[in-house]
């Protein structure tokens, strides 16, 4: 493998022009989606200005609101990284939700059941088990795809339902805290808690883990042989096979890593925020993370701003609902539209007359039939 062959990009224009054109489509996609959202608000006979002002203030209006936005940014970043890593290997991991649950489940067990451990043992152990839980859940569809050719989309979705029901059973039965009024596990040991960053507020050290994870994923994908193989398999599995790489091994590996990141997202919620696992643990991060990864064009450095934007939308939605009487489901509609506009970026390019750069033409392909 020569150095030249790794540098496959065409001679590019100046960096800042690239950045602007790269950002144009996602930014305009969000803008257009919000504009359509405004039409929906108007159609529901609510005040658009009041609604969007509520959204903005809810997200950034005070230190409290801003830190809450960052609290949501944390799992979004990790979950978005999970989807992006799968994308890079040509895998569509819709199972982030399930892996998130399994991560939360495994970490909460270690965090409440192991007693008397020092912080520097207990906390890393709980984080590791959480990541392992997600990795295990991600390995199943990876293995099924690699060995039997079963499409990961259906299997990851099925595993989401199975994970939800597993967590529901375990939390209501063997892991139930009998003293609690609502079904939930016991509180975790203080030695397994992620410390708060700005004490009165809920912001916790999970954010730092998420930021470190961005750099780790970047390093893994672009600075290691492993990452090179994963990206090659994602770009062209036939070529990868021809070059002597094991496509199946990389499928499993990418799903394991992706699942580990998703599991870590769930772990952060348990160790940093809830400090227990309730049976009604609805995250909804699974689908949001797809939007985040698409917005970031599956690049680790794009994940953080995309996750932040998404967290702002989620966090601001509450105040929007309060002020304008618009259901928070509006955010889901906006989100779906963003996915549509980014996936079918021709619509945005046509609307705003943006030309496509030559090197951009090849895109990731997930639809390779149902297997083989």
């Amino acid at each position: 493998m020569t150095a030249e062959s790794r540098e496959m990009t065409v001679q590019a224009p100046a960096a800042w022009i690239r950045l602007v054109t790269d950002l144009a489509v996602p930014v305009l996609a969000v803008f257009t989606a919000l504009a359509i959202g405004a039409v929906v608000i108007w159609a529901a006979k609510a005040n658009v200005v009041v609604a969007y002002r509520g959204l903005l203030e809810g997200a950034f209006g005070s230190v409290r609101n801003l830190t809450e936005t960052l609290v949501i940014t944390t799992p979004y970043t990790l979950a978005g990284l999970a989807v992006a890593l799968g994308f890079r290997c040509g895998l569509f991991n819709i199972g982030v939700e399930g892996q998130f649950y399994m991560g939360a489940l495994c970490s909460v067990y270690v965090a409440y059941a192991a007693k008397g451990l020092p912080v520097y043992v207990h906390l890393p152990l709980a984080l590791l088990t959480g990541a392992l839980g997600g990795a295990m859940w991600g390995a199943i569809p990876g293995f099924l795809k690699a060995k039997l050719g079963a499409h990961e989309v259906i299997n990851t979705i099925m595993l989401n339902y199975i994970a939800v029901k597993t967590v529901d059973y375990l939390v209501k039965n063997p892991m139930l805290d009998a003293a609690a009024t609502m079904p939930r596990t016991p509180y975790i040991q203080p030695s397994a808690m992620l410390p708060k960053l700005l004490p009165p507020y809920r912001l916790h050290a999970g954010l730092l883990i998420a930021i470190v994870a961005i750099f780790v994923v970047y390093w893994l994908l672009w600075k290691t042989t492993l990452g090179f193989e994963i990206r090659t398999v994602g770009a062209n599995p036939d070529a990868a096979k021809y070059a002597g790489m094991s496509v199946t091994r990389n499928f499993v590996l990418a799903m394991v890593l992706s699942g580990a990141l998703a599991g870590l997202a769930g772990t952060g919620e348990v160790l940093g925020l809830n400090h227990n696992l309730p049976a009604m643990f609805i995250s909804g991060y699974g689908f949001d993370s797809i939007a985040i990864a698409l917005m970031a064009k599956s690049h680790p450095f794009g994940i953080l701003p995309a996750a932040f934007l998404w967290a702002a939308l989620r966090n601001g939605a509450g105040l929007m609902q309060l002020r304008a009487g618009i259901s928070i489901d509006l955010v889901n509609i906006v989100q779906a539209l963003v996915i549509v506009f980014i996936a079918a970026d021709e619509i945005i390019r046509w609307l705003y007359r943006i030309k496509r750069r030559k090197e951009e033409i090849r895109e990731l392909v997930f639809t390779r039939g149902w297997g083989r």
């Binding site: 569509f92 079963a150 099925m158 489901d329 889901n332 996936a343």
Partner: protein
Amino acid sequence: MTETTKARFSRLRALAIVFIVIGLLMIVIARLKIDAAQVSTLGFEKFGRQPVPSQLTVTVCGALCALTALAALVLRNARAAGASLAFSLLLVLLGLLTALAQGASIDLVGMLASSLRMSTPIALGAMAGIMCERSGVVNIGIEGMMLAAAAFGFGANLFFGNIWIGVLVAILVGGLMAALHAVLSIRFKTDQIISGTAINILAVGASGFLRRAYLVKAYFVGQTLPLIKIPLLSEIPVLGSVFFRSQPIVYTMLFLLPLLHVVLFYTPWGLRTRAVGEHPRAADTVGVNVFKTRYINVIIGGCIAGLAGAWFSLETVGSFEDVMTGGKGFIALAAMIFGNWNPIGAFLGALLFGFADALQIKLQILNVPLPYQFLGMAPYIVTMIVVAGLIGRATPPAAEGVPYEK
């Protein structure tokens, strides 16, 4: 023997061995776990109830299952071997029902009828999938099309006060969502999996928005489509109560099934559709309009998915709940794969899932000592097994998922 038939044979053999093991396990479990004095009552509707000794029946079922699977192993004809395995499966299910009905009674005819009912949205969804995919467009947005149709159909029922208008709106909304999928994947050549996912998310958002903004205010639950007993036919023993005492969408599904089969395989339109799905370039060369064929198929498929959505809110529950489709749209895709992209086969797959669903509901009622969460997992696990186990045997349309460039 060609490569594919060889592979098919080895899969059948592997499946046969699995069934032999299951059959033997049934015998062992009957011996160890079932009390010889226990009696299961198997009901046959009004034709009486037959108490049978549980242990003996399960043992016999297990033995016959092992024998039929053994026959499948030695048969040289793939079709006969498959049929033999189908018998093994039926015997496993019968043994399972007997074992579960210890000291209680299960109405077998009632189970069949509720399996058919539960399989209806899955069969319709699978037909929607077949229409899209036979023309070369992958559709994982069926779940979303169903969900949006369920919500808007119910909304229309409230608004117009007429349930039939509700069904019509559901069909139209399904078609509308499919039109979006068609435009994205045919005109804009978006990746079809991503486009389908966007449809699914859009449906969750739009239906949730509709429910919280309008539907919860008008509290109204309960109106469902009428039960129609077909005169004379509904009096036929067993068949009558399984097929001819149903609700309109079940009938429509049973009517659409042979219709789609005939249209796909015996009409020029079906030939064109399949040609476009297998080799669009060749179809284009002989003058078939690839884009038009795909648009029409995807949109009609969406209308069928919309009807499946109406099944949830208008035929069964009489109300709309968030994400009430519960993954049935994805299970429908598994049924489609199970049926090798053929309507009749997909229907059999749907029946299997419908049975799994009916069984878990029945078991929750019977208070079987298994947590309800695990029972509820059954359809999802069966889906995974089907997708993993049959995917190598199934041959999807060759041009599926590839946008056509003229």
